[in-house]
């Protein structure tokens, strides 16, 4: 009979230890996420009422609710994602499916990587120059959304490129082989199978847009507005900016307000993200390979 040697027994123990280490690390990464939400909830609880999320701020933002900021953030996120997704996906499609791999493409890829590394305050200045002043959009929801869109483009392009790469080349060849054109292959084979990955990029983009403060500071977000935006050419308030304002710029704000605002911001992002994750799961189960 075969008997495991001492060496093999040690291996089993090491195997177990390593698994425990991995689960411990994962658990400790999970803790701060949970901790932040818990802490915000505890500290913000006194301010969390239905009125808080449905009323306008009053008395110089020291009382009332945060409704206009939720509306503003909502519009900024939606418009910026609507702009950056099609652009980013189309650019990634060009790079991955059409462009010949040459010097030009390498330069473009490098530019995208660099764009991802540009600080958001620099994006804000670019947005101010390009959208607010040069294109004469004024400080508006549109200009701020475009600035956010530019900021999110590299995220979406990169995640789309990765998910396009994950579609096996043999699928494309099989489709070409039976006389499908390049466009048909993209439409029926490549895109449906890379959709989950593309949605992951959108999740990141949403999170970044909703939380971004610097990029929208000069381009469309107001400190305080007594009215809701009527068109995309109006300014708006935003949760992230409001959080900054009531935490540092205004005296006499109740202690719980900033915490409650932050909690709402996080919950909003979580809600949009779970929507995207839900969509992703839906597409994943529908198409599997």
């Amino acid at each position: 009979m075969f008997k495991p040697s001492m060496h093999l027994l040690n291996k089993e123990i090491r195997e177990k230890n390593f698994k425990n280490l991995l689960s411990m690390v994962t658990f400790f990464l999970f803790l701060p996420a949970l901790g932040i939400i818990f802490w915000l909830f505890v500290k913000g609880y006194p301010a969390l009422t239905w009125d808080f999320i449905t009323q306008d701020p009053i008395k110089g933002m020291t009382a009332g609710g945060i409704f206009p900021t939720i509306v503003g953030t909502f519009w900024l996120v939606i418009i910026s994602v609507l702009v950056s997704c099609p652009l980013g996906v189309l650019a990634a499609l060009y790079i991955s499916e059409y462009a010949k791999d040459g010097k030009m493409i390498r330069i473009i890829r490098l530019a995208i990587l660099n764009l991802a590394g540009v600080p958001s305050i620099v994006h804000a200045l670019f947005g101010l120059g390009a959208f607010v002043l040069f294109m004469k959009m004024g400080t508006s929801i549109l200009a701020a959304s475009f600035t956010l869109a530019v900021m999110n483009l590299p995220v979406i392009i990169t995640s789309t490129l990765e998910s396009l790469k994950a579609v096996p080349h043999s699928y494309r060849e099989a489709s070409w082989n039976v006389g499908a054109s390049k466009l048909q292959t993209i439409r029926h084979i490549v895109l449906p199978n890379s959709l989950p990955g593309i949605l992951t990029g959108v999740v990141f983009a949403v999170g970044r847009s909703a939380g971004e403060t610097a990029a929208i500071l000069f381009t469309g977000v107001a400190f305080y507005l007594p009215f809701l935006p009527q068109t995309v050419f109006d300014q708006c308030m935003a949760l992230s900016m409001h959080l900054f304002t009531i935490s540092t710029q205004v005296v006499g704000v109740p202690d719980a307000y900033p915490y409650a605002t932050a909690l709402i911001l996080i919950l909003l992002i979580l809600a949009v993200n779970s929507l995207a994750v839900g969509l992703r799961t839906y597409f994943r189960t529908k198409r599997k390979w």
Binding site: N177, V178, A180
Partner: protein
């Protein structure tokens, strides 16, 4: 006999590496031509030239002329029509990530056919020809990627037949299929020969012997031997290397 495909002075290179050098070959209408030869001798590259799959790779350079029914296949900018005329079965099974039905009707749908009844009849016909119908007829709406490797390979054959090609190229179609099913498909190929021309790359020399009308031996990007099957397998071989390969001395 009518010449279906004429290949003249074909030269193919991947960057600095030449994989086919100065190849000339005529393929006649309704014949089965088997191409044998060791790995890396350019057999698959030859097939990829026939349906211009080489267009998609910038590193591949193709020189020379290929005529289909007397007309150059490179004349038309759009290669999708050519690919409908030339069916291709790749060596590795590829079930596209959609249902079995969608897989087999993919080509006609991409060619603009929307008629459900017509699509259904094409599907049934092609699946039967590929000896797959009996196994999948109850789960046509199941995912093709859930099929076994051999079944996916037959699905690939069914897909290649679905656009009624004039020429069918088979690149080692039987590597993932058991001998019994292989025999079934070979019988079907004998039938199909009546209305199409078949170019078959195979590593199974007996398959070339069974199915082919003619057999070509490729080595290092050249055809070193080409003859009718009854001659080549009766020992009428010009090149010693072909003889060695067939008899299993080398290769």
């Amino acid at each position: 006999m009518k010449k279906k495909i004429e290949i003249k002075n074909l030269k193919v290179s991947y960057g600095p590496k030449t994989v086919i050098k100065n190849l000339n070959l005529d393929i006649y209408q309704n014949e089965v031509i088997a191409i044998i030869g060791p790995a890396n001798s350019g057999k698959s590259s030859l097939l990829r030239c026939l349906n211009r799959m080489t267009d998609f790779n910038n590193e591949i350079k193709v020189e020379g002329q290929i005529l289909l029914d007397g007309l150059s296949i490179h004349e038309d900018e759009d290669s999708t029509f050519l690919r409908r005329r030339i069916g291709m079965v790749s060596p590795l099974p590829v079930g596209l990530p959609m249902t079995i039905k969608e897989n087999v009707t993919y080509a006609p749908r991409m060619a603009g056919c929307n008629n459900e009844a017509e699509l259904d009849s094409i599907m049934e016909d092609c699946l039967k020809k590929a000896a797959l119908w009996d196994e999948v007829k109850d789960r046509l709406d199941g995912l093709a990627t859930k099929l076994s490797g051999g079944q996916q390979q037959r699905l690939t054959i069914a897909r290649a037949l679905s656009h009624h090609p004039e020429v069918l190229c088979l690149d080692e179609f039987s590597i993932a299929i058991d001998p019994v099913t292989t025999m079934k498909i070979e019988a079907v190929l004998q039938e199909l020969k009546k209305d199409m021309t078949i170019v078959m790359v195979t590593n199974v020399i007996n398959q070339a012997k069974r199915l082919g009308d003619r057999t070509a031996m490729m080595l290092h990007g050249e055809i070193i031997d080409l003859n009718d099957n009854d001659k080549i397998f009766a020992g009428q071989i010009n090149d010693q290397r072909t003889k060695d390969y067939i008899e299993g001395v080398f290769g």
